[in-house]
């Protein structure tokens, strides 16, 4: 640590703190304040305190639980595929393959592409008659065409496919970094002991990359749970008939299309509490794990 006049670190921090207070902390507190009022387009200036009214409405609506289920399904499926595909490709890339740098560059392209362009382009590809996805299904694979954007089930699957596509490179890169840090001697020793590919993965690779993968998965889970832009653009704001929403996209719609500000604010608070609970749970279970290693 450096020694300096006591005020010096605060002086360095001051600009960032002032900005954070003004554009992050104050809005957050304001969001909590709004959650206990009845602000909407009709009560934009004359809103009043209503206590837990918004929360009561929310918690008694079945919609909340359906949306929670969809958020969980969205997150679990996405993160599962991100990790599985990313880890798999990282292991293959870390093996003795020529042209590794070339493949790696191709495989991270979805991450490099702005998400809104990925989403809009995929949306075009999901077009029933002219989209490439159905053309490939019907012409090359002789399968029936899928009503991607009009059937509630498939309209939810479509953004999941898009999000898996754009999300696996992050996990792949993280896993590659972790793999390259594993000392070679471990594998050489295992070779001497006659271990096969699976044994080596199970007993060397997996335990070695777990400490790096865990924070990445935690971060990825939060990002995915809070990701709005993919669903919003692929399903055009929840079409058909608001049936493809997860919690956060629904809040966005309720706030900025239906102008139910306080209701949306209360809903945000619920989502925040769910995430906070999840993270605390994970950290409590991860802490003893760290202590052991």
């Amino acid at each position: 640590m450096l020694r300096s006049p006591r005020w010096f670190p605060y002086q360095l921090l001051l600009p960032a703190i002032v900005v954070m207070l003004a554009v992050v902390l104050f809005p957050l507190l304001y969001n909590f304040y709004l959650a206990f009022r009845n602000m909407s387009l009709y009560h934009f200036t004359d809103h009043r305190f209503v206590g837990f009214e918004q929360f009561r409405t929310l918690l008694t609506e079945p919609a909340l639980y359906v949306l929670l289920g969809k958020s969980v399904a969205w997150t679990v499926v996405n993160v599962l595929f991100h990790v599985a595909v990313g880890l798999f490709l990282a292991v293959v890339l870390a093996g003795p393959v020529r042209g590794r740098a070339f493949y790696r560059t191709l495989l991270i392209l979805p991450w490099a592409m702005p998400q809104y362009i990925s989403a809009l382009t995929w949306r075009g590809m999901f077009n029933y008659e002219y989209g490439a996805v159905n053309l490939i299904l019907t012409r090359l694979l002789h399968l029936p065409a899928v009503p991607w954007l009009t059937d509630p089930f498939w309209a939810f699957v479509a953004p999941i496919i898009v999000n898996i596509w754009l999300g696996f490179p992050f996990m792949m890169v993280v896993a590659l970094g972790a793999l390259s840090a594993i000392p070679h001697e471990l594998y050489e020793a295992a070779d001497l002991d006659g271990a096969n590919v699976w044994h080596k993965f199970r007993n060397i690779t997996w335990p070695q990359i777990l400490p790096v993968l865990t924070p990445a998965v935690l971060l990825g889970t939060i990002w995915t749970f809070n990701n709005m832009v993919v669903i919003w653009l692929v399903s055009r704001g929840g079409q058909p008939a608001d049936q493809t929403h997860i919690m956060v996209t629904y809040i966005y719609k309720v706030a900025f299309t239906y102008y139910r500000y306080s209701y949306a604010a209360a809903f945000s608070v619920i989502v925040f509490l769910i995430l906070l609970g999840f993270v605390l749970l994970v950290l409590r279970r991860a802490a003893p794990l760290e202590a052991r290693s």
């Binding site: 360095l12 809005p27 596509w165 653009l233 809903f267 925040f272």
Partner: protein, 281 residues
């Protein structure tokens, strides 16, 4: 890797290549699709062809997007907002990150972890109150409003990254400078700040790309078409699937190819910055 060993692994190697080619194709296909659509002549917008280069390929859509749509206006707007956010964000993050890296002070833990905690908030939790506040003070439909919103979302990550990088710079350098009679401020500006150039570049790039590619916040804050940023403009084209699809594709290519090249070149540093910031808790 020795020669006999590679021979022994041959079937495995072949399979690896097959898998890598398959996955590379899946990642590349949507991008190629944009190229294909952008080359389509206007009489083939309702095409059911799977050919990668359409019949009668033309660059007409690039001409249309550049000179017959508001593309250049959107680009100017996006550049303006993104530059403002970048300069502002880097200035704030480089100083705050330094304080967190080099000093311990009351509120250190709380301060640092509150930056992390912000990652847990659903975006709407900031967006909605910011929207209501901006509506009240008349910042809606202004670049200032948009820049404020973007700074709020990018700052925590930037501070965290900068601090992680400063932590890797040996503190002895500044201690020597202090002993030689340097003040704490010039120890920072003359010794550490120049050494942190790579992290500054990454933070700048991250802030820039964040603002450059953001859609949902922009959609809420900006209504007037004259203030549209690139994402808003391109989405408005994509909305008209029938008529503007080729123009949308051409515009998207112009927007994302430079960003993608930059990203591919710099992503190693981006990831290591992330890892440094994240692991050293």
């Amino acid at each position: 890797m020795t020669a006999p060993r590679r021979r022994r692994l041959r079937p495995l190697t072949l399979m690896s290549h097959a898998l890598l080619i398959l996955f590379s194709f899946a990642t590349l296909y949507p991008i190629l699709q944009i190229v294909t659509v952008s080359l389509r002549p206007s009489d083939q917008l309702y095409s059911t062809s799977l050919a990668l280069v359409p019949k009668g390929a033309t660059l007409r859509a690039f001409y249309v997007i550049l000179f017959e749509r508001d593309f250049l206006v959107w680009m100017r707007n996006s550049l303006l907002v993104s530059f403002a956010v970048t300069v502002f964000g880097v200035a704030l993050a480089s100083t705050a990150g330094y304080a967190f890296s080099r000093y311990r002070f009351p509120g250190w833990t709380a301060g640092l972890y509150s930056f992390l905690l912000t990652q847990l908030f659903p975006a709407t939790m900031l967006m909605l109150p910011l929207y209501v506040m901006m509506k009240a003070v008349g910042l809606l439909d202004t670049f200032t409003g948009l820049a404020i919103a973007y700074t709020a979302t990018a700052l925590p990550f930037s501070v965290w990254t900068m601090r992680g990088y400063y932590d890797t710079i040996p503190i002895e350098l500044e201690q020597a400078a202090l002993i030689d009679g340097c003040g704490p401020w010039s120890a920072f500006t003359r010794v550490t700040f120049p050494l942190a150039a790579p992290a500054l570049a990454i933070t700048a790039l991250f802030s820039f790309m964040n603002a450059w590619s953001e859609f949902l916040v922009a959609r809420v804050i900006v209504n007037r078409q004259a203030l549209y940023t690139l994402p808003l403009g391109l989405e408005s084209l994509a909305g008209q699937f029938q008529t503007e699809w080729a123009n949308y594709a051409a515009g998207s290519l112009l927007v994302c190819v430079p960003v993608m090249i930059l990203f591919v070149v710099l992503n190693r540093w981006l990831v290591s910055g992330l890892a440094l910031g994240g692991v050293k808790g």
